[in-house]
Subunit: 401 residues, 4 copies
């Protein structure tokens, strides 16, 4: 039998910024027997989840659901809209923006990767990884692109590697202000259903998301929310596409079906997740995340450690990056916490590897699990020899009362 | 809450040729809590399932596991090995061979789709859909290809739309006999773990499979079993690829990890499925399917109805296609059976639509579920007004005693 | 890990007359986390299941739910109403009537166990075990009891060991006709929620039932449905009682709680079972059982084997006893069927041991599972060398179309 | 559908001293399909759990497993060993000792209920509820009982209402020192598998336990661990007994079966629980509980609140009672914590109602869940206006590092 947790008793604390803890309700829904994906019961299920996911994206336009994890949905967004050699403007906000840019390059696109220059004096970390998308830089670059060679602006809504939530409406305004026809593509893999994301209001053309974050599902399905213009562009885009192709999916979805076998049991889970989220209402869901995030930041501040996100205007409600003092290996701290306290934290990725760790505070959490989380960090930091200015747990408890 | 079955009591009979019924053991394994896909527990899980799936493919070479359904693995096989405009030789054996050919075309390849010509006198159905791959036709075509423009021969091992299991060893011999360098790519989506499939012995270059058939999992993960030559070819193949790219997967798999988020909970299920299948041994698993298939064919024969597969040498152990008499809409029969007896059967696809239905006899079945299945068909056929020569149930029970 | 089924694949057929197959919906409900049985959520749950179970018993009076299996509820019925040395009239209808009588004796009551005399010429089995309660015998005995020494008449509604459903309304009329004050106590452990049981209309004083039959739950909780008179009598009855005592239970139940820890997770299952049964409506549930029973009897008749119940007026809708020919060990047949076809059937108990087996057709079944069940019996009987007059499966399929 | 938790997200903290949180592994094991309790698979399961539970009780003698909750096992202990009017010596240590005494009286026994006299100056609470069993008082009373009219000494091992674990070995020595033949009966319902309990070494005659505490199961099954002498005595004891009778259970258990239907799915859970506990080893399990208990007491001490147990020699490893300041309604604090922080705590029972609450630290916990638990209490106490001397969370974290 599969027994994953090596700890003798108790429940693992999964406090990485995704996969987030999956509620029992969803796990139970997922173990309903698999059914015929061409039968009438499935069609009813399909129509329900397709309608529900539109509400989550705050869109009235089609959302393609892929039986594939989030990285696939990145590829889908590009494959449906771009032709070989097309130029895309991307913005370095952290590791996931970087990986998406590498993917675009690998798929044969010309990528421009703009980035806030410089290094933070306090931490020695790249400034670009401590701030959100600078819409002014985008505007400037688009203005210079008089020939409209840039086909798309690609940004990350909530940068999972840093804990920064960029201002997508500002990006939209930047594009509009110069009347540039580039598509706006937004990765909201870790933002959706935790941070406010407004597909139609912000006129995003393609949004990419995944199941294992705010939707509280295991990984395995992912999403492309579309705009009418994205659908139009996809008819002439020339990157080869078949599995990812929107046309057949959108057509088949009208009846609640998919052109090929969908991920049945994850769709059961999605059905349950939508029930849970929509019953509560998105504003309430977003407020809960903001409350947790504020509490965790109060804790980090009490410790006297820098928060990875240096701009309070774009603090992430989903996760908080904690920068460890110079000389302290953040991964050693994480490992100690994992071993002693049975808690998983997010590692520092790419340019911040070893210099920070990430606390996920999203999805199926509550006040007490977050107190436990912060306590596990605090005990681990101390045991790793980090001098803390004060008690983060105390600060968090004050925030929660 | 999600309640899928509209029938008042009892368990639905899912007797389509996949998704096959998922054993309770696997459903339970899948509802373990999701864990950190970068943590040590996950690495151990990853190494175990990667080793186990190699045994199922009967290979010592890498098997890529995708967090995507089977159609994705078709695309992966082509995207990793082909360059735009490459020529591939494909063989029409039914609907899935046809869909794969359409995909190859859509991805920008030149496809040659060879096919047994003619129509069956008895049933009016295309002969190509009642037989397996004709290795002699492949040999002939490859011999003519002196310039070696054909980069790959693509065949379907077990054609899910017809119930025909082609002789892959014969295809291998055909390629070898003319010393043609084309890759051999085999779709064994519905064959693997039900019908004998020998990746290394048959020197297949890329095998494609999925989770929801003989592996008894829900849909959602899929496989590419590779050969060293396929890996070599993939280094220079020029179709754009990123999500599907083998290189990073094979590299990361060495530690039990994946380059992006894998489908954690389906991997739990795979772990359990491998435990179940390997404990019993593949020969026993294959024998069980052969026994069921022989019993079901005895039933169809007793009814006096044609079996879709007209060549006894390539009867499928996985499913049996049943041709309904001219004038009888096979889908109306299926619908009646679904409504009255709470059983799903496979529909006739493409060129045989309405003329046949398919009985799945794979995975988590036993003798009594198959008696029930055949009884449901027999009652439904009679109620639909089909005159049967005799009792298939009686014949099946005799076969089983 | 616990893996119960030694068969390599497929689902076990649990066709004993209880425990009956537990629907997945109920198993899933049972694995909700255990909660505080003194908290507000529990009180709401308690009130719901208490109201629901009254509908199942067709009563407006209290139903005590015990965290104990059905045998305990037998004891509870006696312990709450009887005093040491009290006389009770019981009727031999089979093994469970016999066991209840033994229990009454063991608890210090004087039991009169009346019985249809004689032996069946056809089968050599006791006639009492092939018929229901003879109300005339009860009436006669009560008439003779001018001093009203008999405190209770105890009968079994659906005799699980024989497949006979006695006419409780007739017993009520018999008691009334002689104006005897004896309590009427009815064991409907295997009758409730499968066969029509009307607590208030029949003026039963105490009904006993359990979870693992028509309610489709695992064993572990049981019931006493009460009448006002039973409650009144319990105030002065002198058998020692504490765990079983109705007074505190009825009092605490007003708020949805119990005087001691209830069986939380089985109550979750009961909540789900009530949802399922009441959504459909009891008449529909009863009709479904009657239909199945008629089909199974048609099969047994086609085999040319005697049905254990010799009186068509009291055939059980829950199970059918099948008498094997003299010289055929029914248990050897059962064992063969278990080994070869992964199906459990009920054994012959007590006076009919080895001479019959029992087919359960209750709860979470459907037409196809019953065809499979009868087919398993038919194949097993043949393999055990029993000559059958004809095909029971064929007869059953005709009954079902 | 049943959705128990009214909180919008996160997992309920069930920190009452039983039912304790049920591990996912056990919940999953419990949802295996119910099987035939007379079939061969069941016999194997029965033998395994019977052997395993003996190890937990540290006994080589039979353990009766009842399909009934713990209160039933209290009754079973008395019903099997006592005759009407027999005298038993019981010791008031709290609410559960009191309830057991009431039950004994209700069953027709003469109970002597000895008790530490007086009231605690500090808290106003009865002294008897702040200390363990005083073996000297027992010795004194037994010495006075020259005629050996006292048939049994009944004590509670771990008093769930107070958090006091009495010294059973001392009680044994007290009985031995006066050579009194009384049986020693011990309620270890909340002690077993959390606190060290040694049935054979301490020569206990009947131990009573339940499933929902250290065994980490839902409530619903319970235990009587026996001694040879208890079995001997049961042959002549005259209280009426049938459901509880050891004789048939012990006899049937030899083959792994029970005389009546056992609680199948809870036995699945027991099988899993035994696997978990015995794999780790009882000393490790006990040490874990001691560690948690010490940490929680450090927290209570830091708050400046009295621990209900006033004698450090008998602090419970299972739970800690926290006495609230005069004028503070402990139940109002509990309710506030339940509403705001989604955590259940144990209420003050009987003589200490409203004056204390109980923190369970048993079973499937870990360091971080206990930090969360203490934090929930601390925040709730403050919000209820209780002045705390210091931070219990801080003290607990220090204890855990």
């Amino acid at each position: 039998m599969l027994t994953l947790n090596q700890h003798p008793s108790g429940r693992h604390f999964l406090q990485i910024p995704g996969p987030s803890p999956v509620p029992d309700r969803i796990l139970r829904a997922m173990c309903l027997p698999t059914i015929d994906h061409r039968g009438p019961e499935f069609g009813r299920l399909g129509l329900k989840v397709l309608a529900g996911i539109q509400q989550i994206f705050q869109t009235q336009h089609p959302v393609a659901i892929y039986p594939a994890s989030g990285t696939g949905a990145w590829e889908a967004a590009l494959a449906n809209t771009m032709s070989p050699g097309d130029r895309v403007l991307m913005v370095e906000t952290g590791q996931f923006a970087t990986l998406w840019q590498k993917m675009a390059t690998r798929l044969g696109l010309q990528t421009e990767f703009i980035s806030e220059p410089g290094t933070c004096a306090e931490t020695g970390l790249p400034l670009a990884w401590r701030r959100g998308v600078n819409a002014a830089l985008i505007e400037e670059r688009l203005r210079a692109d008089a020939g409209h060679q840039i086909r798309a602006v690609c940004v990350v809504h909530n940068e999972t590697s840093t804990g920064v939530t960029s201002d997508i409406a500002a990006v939209r305004r930047a594009i509009d202000s110069v009347k540039h026809p580039a598509l706006l593509m937004v990765d909201t893999i870790s933002g959706l259903a935790s941070a406010d994301y407004r597909h139609d209001e912000w006129r995003v053309d393609v949004a990419i998301s995944g199941s294992q974050k705010g939707l509280m599902l295991p990984p395995g399905i992912s999403f492309n929310a579309l705009s009418p213009r994205a659908l139009e562009v996809s008819k002439t885009a020339k990157l080869p596409k078949s599995f990812w192709a929107w046309d057949e999916i959108v057509e088949m979805n009208k009846g609640g079906y998919w052109p090929y076998t969908p991920s049945t049991n994850l769709l059961y889970g999605l059905h349950e997740a939508l029930d849970m989220l929509l019953a509560q209402g998105l504003p309430t869901v977003f407020a809960r995340h903001q409350r947790w995030a504020a509490g965790v930041r109060a804790a980090v501040t009490a410790w006297g450690l820098p928060i990875q996100c240096a701009d309070p205007a774009v603090y992430s409600p989903v996760l908080t990056g904690v920068v460890t003092p110079a000389g302290v290996d953040a991964d050693a701290v994480r490992k100690l916490i994992h071993t002693r306290y049975d808690m998983s934290l997010g590692t520092g990725l790419g340019k911040v590897k070893g210099r920070m760790f990430r606390i996920g505070h999203l999805g199926d959490c509550n006040d007490l699990t977050l107190v436990a989380t912060v306590a596990g960090c605090e005990m681990g930091l101390k045991q790793a020899g980090v001098k803390l200015a004060g008690s983060g747990v105390q600060a968090l408890m004050e925030a929660f009362t």
